[in-house]
């Protein structure tokens, strides 16, 4: 076993997922405690270019037509050989539709330990996992053998996993990928139409504090600047100011975005039912005692009509810069 940390790069239809860069940052933190290198592992077909901006010491690139699109069987076979042969200290996978399909199977096939849902590493290199819906953190020992890990976002910043300097890319031989048990038949694109707020990572939600339909404009401006969509509490939808598809709560949609910015929403349980599980809730409400502050992570009692334009302005400046 060597001391290198491998990161299995996740990409879909020509696009590297953010989590891959985030894992490179995590791998760097771990590598510092083990004294090894950070090595990205990229599987694909004509996909070498994807590796150019990765903040890794090296990239191991396996090219094969059967790896053009993800299928669990092909990935498993390829990675099993590679890990067995190279015996790194640890291999990081994303806790995602791709990483989770591969990591578990490999753990069983190679008889290697697996630690899942790691958000970060402690100073002495112990993986810290988030379990029980984020209510509990578990810090595990890193076993004395090649260890597989799956990672979730939140601990590191993906931007730091990118670098202006292209890493050294080492081409690897693919194993025989015949007789696969799993094959991709086709992709089905998401339906077009009104945005599905339950799938949006950034939601600006407006409540009665917005006062009238014309004022929704300022929320839309903010959403544009931040790259999110506008949703609403029930009174706003009831007034016909926004369509029902944007309603959050008991009688509307349940959303779990990364950021839920509540503008002038009191936080009635019927509303919280729909957004309480958002990752970060930021509440803007002039009433210090509004219950929304009991579920929000950050809050402010500034008048939304003062704050929102100021915030939009700041975001625009950043974009321009």
């Amino acid at each position: 076993m060597n001391q290198d940390i491998y990161v299995v790069i996740e990409h879909l239809r020509g696009q590297v997922a953010d989590i891959s860069y985030l894992m490179l940052v995590g791998a760097r933190a771990l590598a510092q405690t083990t004294g090894g290198e950070v090595i990205a592992v990229l599987l694909g077909h004509d996909a070498q270019g994807l590796a150019n901006n990765m903040a890794a010491n090296k990239v191991l690139y396996v090219d094969h037509p059967a790896l053009a699109e993800f299928t669990s069987d092909a990935y498993q076979k390829t990675l099993a050989g590679l890990i067995r042969e190279r015996e790194p200290r640890a291999v990081l996978f994303a806790s995602s539709s791709i990483g989770a399909d591969v990591s578990g199977v490999l753990s069983a096939r190679l008889n290697l330990p697996l630690i899942s849902s790691c958000q970060s590493f402690s100073a002495d290199g112990r993986p810290i996992s988030q379990i029980c819906g984020g209510k509990i953190m578990a810090e595990s020992d890193l076993p004395d053998t090649t260890t597989l890990l799956t990672m979730i976002p939140g601990g590191y910043k993906p931007e730091e996993g990118q670098s202006g300097k292209a890493p050294e890319i080492i081409k690897m031989e693919a194993p025989s990928l015949d007789n696969l048990r799993v094959t991709l038949k086709q992709y089905i694109e998401p339906e077009a139409g009104d945005v599905d707020i339950s799938k949006e990572p950034i939601i600006i939600s407006v409540g009665r504090g917005i006062q009238n339909q014309d004022n929704i404009e300022i929320a839309e401006e903010l959403a544009k600047a931040l790259g999110g969509v506008v949703a609403a509490s029930r009174p706003v939808v009831d007034q016909g100011w926004m369509s029902t598809s944007r309603l959050v709560g008991k009688s509307g949609k349940k959303v779990k975005p990364k950021i839920y910015l509540a503008l002038g929403i009191s936080g009635a349980p019927e509303h919280v039912e729909g957004m309480g599980e958002s990752e970060v809730i930021i509440a803007i409400n002039t009433d210090t005692n509004a219950p929304i502050f009991n579920v929000a992570k950050y809050g402010t009692t500034i008048d939304l009509f003062d704050l929102v334009p100021a915030l939009t302005e700041k975001l625009r400046e950043i974009k321009k810069a």
């Binding site: 009665r208 029930r234 009831d238 007034q239 009688s251 009635a268 219950p291």
Partner: protein, 667 residues
């Protein structure tokens, strides 16, 4: 000597023919009734013969006295005149028959002579006029005023073989014919025989004056012709009773006699056989089938239904008509669920009981609606929100899906600490309820309730985390099994406590605890907090330091008012506070439901709703001049109305408060 030769101008063959026809009529009538009864008996068994005295009393009051019918002025007068007009004429005919064919024929003795006869003629003539007035009112209403409650048959019903319009018209035409032909027969008889007591038959006498000029042989022929018509119409009418709308003459008193006699708040338990709930028409009990047949399509239920008023697809009238139609259309292959009754209709009902309260023939719409819901629940056909709520109720014992350990969180700041009724004996066991325990809007109000109790030196305690939702609305949703399991859990907790009586915040809990939870067969002693406050004020234990001079109006919660008849206690408390109480047009037993009951508050909103019941209600309250506050005594009302005040944009005009907030303020 004033008397009437009964078969004056009637040849013998006609007299004989009349009796033959009469016999035939009776046979047809009997067959018709038999056919109906046979169909009812295809329903599930149910015992309805207890408390005969009370049942007979109901028949007396509402079948003969028609007290309920009379509660609607126009329709009441209309129906009373037709009903009593027909009854009088029927009795008159019967008396004449007895007089002639029994006492005269066999004993040579007549009683309709002299003064008795004159009185008889006069009374019959007057009732005939009343009957015509009633019929005129009916025609005017049905064909000229055309109130919506008589119109809205659905396309489905219209397409069916039963043509209600023809049925309605038939009854009116036949009754009018029989009355008019009767008068003409009388008039012609008087025109020919010119008795000196003729003025005692004012209508007949007036008609006679038209015919006097016509002369005798013609008049005799005319008389015989009209007599024949009169007799034929009468027999056809009688024979057709079991085949037309007129059947309500029999079905209504029967339905009233067999009505649900237990308290309004005690729902009939789900029938415990293989089929849970009603899947097909034969799963209804015979009494429910009788319900459908007794309906006269008057539409009063529809007029009072909050679901219908909100634009939802439910009309209790249409529901009953559909069921009745289906009852005679069972071979067509129409399915009860889906073709005849939609699940949307069933889920629109708030269980407010307004329909049952006003139905003149005692139809119990709710029993049937809930029986059909029981089937849907058993098939898992509930909307996502309701499903989640039921799962929460099953798992946590509350509709909020919160831990039972959070149930008494609201008590934290209260000093002295509220007693744990599981640990020490108390006089009153306070059943707080889900909304009052968990809803953030309510926790402050619940604390105020506790403070008021403490101020009145009440010895009370709560069940803390052992309390569960009482299941009142779970049961009305149709989830009988879950209701039973909630009852078991609450009963187990309560049985471990020592207390004299239960007090509740929530009228829904109040209803089921009082009427559906029984301790060893005995009903528990349960008070709603308004009843208790009323007692405390009366006995001087609760005194106010401040006089509130607000002008308020009061909303009667369905489960306090219509279900349990508590109308006065909260009003006395309001007045004791010094408030000026103004009644809304819809108050007391006609109070308009807030739309939350029967589990509606746990369901997704139906898209066809135009004006939510709660909005209609707060608009009504805000429209009362000078009224600043809408007072309620039900946590669900408070949540619904405060929401509605916002959505209706009435925040400037009206405040919604629980009575306890005012009481607390006045202390």
């Amino acid at each position: 000597m004033p008397f009437r030769e009964t078969f004056w101008n009637i040849p013998h063959w006609a007299e004989i023919g009349q009796y033959v026809l009469g016999l035939l009529t009776i046979l047809v009538f009997a067959y018709g009734v038999f056919r109906r009864v046979k169909r009812w008996r295809m329903g599930k068994p149910e015992k309805r013969l207890d408390r005969i005295g009370e049942r007979l009393w109901s028949v007396l009051v509402d079948a003969f006295g028609q007290v309920r019918t009379a509660q609607d002025a126009y329709a009441g007068i209309m129906h009373l005149t037709i009903f009593w007009g027909m009854v009088a004429l029927f009795i008159g005919t019967a008396l004449a028959t007895v007089d002639w064919d029994v006492t005269h024929l066999f004993f040579g003795f007549q009683f309709l002579i002299n003064g008795a006869y004159i009185l008889y003629e006069l009374i019959l003539d007057i009732f005939g006029v009343l009957l015509l007035i009633g019929l005129g009112m009916a025609v005017y209403r049905r064909y000229f005023i055309r109130p919506s409650r008589l119109q809205s048959a659905t396309a489905w019903q219209k397409a069916l073989t039963q043509n209600f319009d023809r049925d309605d018209a038939y009854a009116l035409v036949m009754l009018t014919l029989i009355t008019l032909s009767g008068y003409f027969v009388e008039g012609l008889r008087i025109a020919v025989s010119k008795p000196e007591w003729a003025p005692w038959s004012p209508v007949g006498n007036a008609l006679a004056s038209w015919f006097i000029a016509t002369g005798d042989p013609t008049n005799r022929t005319l008389h015989l012709t009209l007599w024949t018509i009169h007799i034929l119409v009468a027999f056809v009418l009688i024979a057709s009773i079991p085949f037309t709308k007129l059947f309500h003459i029999l079905a209504a008193p029967l339905n009233i006699f067999f009505c649900t006699i237990q308290p309004a708040g005690t729902l009939i338990a789900a029938r415990n056989d293989d089929q849970i709930g009603v899947k097909e028409w034969r799963d209804f009990s015979w009494k429910q089938l009788l319900d459908f047949e007794a309906c006269v399509r008057c539409g009063r239920c529809q007029d009072n239904c909050p679901a219908f008023a909100s634009g939802a697809s439910l009309s209790p009238r249409n529901l009953i008509i559909s069921l009745k139609t289906h009852l005679w259309d069972t071979s067509s292959g129409h399915k009860l669920h889906g073709d005849v009754i939609s699940s949307k209709e069933l889920w629109a009902c708030t269980s407010c009981r307004a329909c049952v309260q006003v139905c003149p023939v005692y139809v119990d719409h709710l029993a049937s609606i809930i029986d059909m819901r029981r089937y849907l629940v058993n098939e898992g056909e509930v909307d996502a929100l309701l499903q989640k709520t039921l799962a929460n109720l099953g798992r946590y014992g509350n509709s909020f899906g919160q831990s039972e350990r959070m149930r008494a969180k609201w008590t934290q700041p209260i000093q002295p600490v509220i007693k744990d009724a599981r640990k020490e004996a108390v006089e009153y066991l306070w059943f707080v309820g889900d909304y009052a325990s968990y809803h953030v809007m309510f926790s402050d109000i619940t604390r105020k309730t506790a403070q008021v109790f403490q101020k009145a030196d009440l010895n009370f305690g709560i069940l803390y985390d052992a309390e569960r939702n009482t299941g009142n609305d779970v049961r009305r949703v149709g989830e009988e099994g879950l209701f039973e399991s909630l009852v078991e859990k609450n009963t187990a907790a309560m049985d471990k406590c020592k207390y004299n009586a239960i007090i509740t915040t929530d009228p829904h809990s109040y209803n089921t605890l009082k009427n559906e939870y029984s301790a060893n067969g005995n009903h528990r002693l349960v008070f709603h907090y308004t009843e208790l406050l009323d007692q405390l004020i009366a006995s001087g234990k609760l005194q106010f330091n401040r006089k509130l001079d607000y002008r308020v109006t009061y909303h009667d919660p369905c489960y306090l008012g219509r279900y349990n008849g508590i109308y006065d206690a909260p009003r006395r408390v309001i007045r004791a506070l010094g408030c000026d109480l103004i009644e809304m047009p819809r108050h007391g037993d006609r109070a308009f439901c807030c739309g939350a009951g029967g589990g509606k508050i746990w369901m997704e909103e139906q898209p066809d709703v135009k004006e939510r019941p709660a909005e209609s209600r707060v608009r009504e309250a805000a429209g009362m001049s000078g009224v600043s506050t809408l007072v309620t005594t039900c946590p669900k009302d408070l949540v619904m109305f405060r929401d509605a005040v916002k959505t209706a944009g009435l925040e400037e005009k009206i405040l919604v408060k629980d009575l306890i907030e005012l009481v607390h303020e006045a202390l």
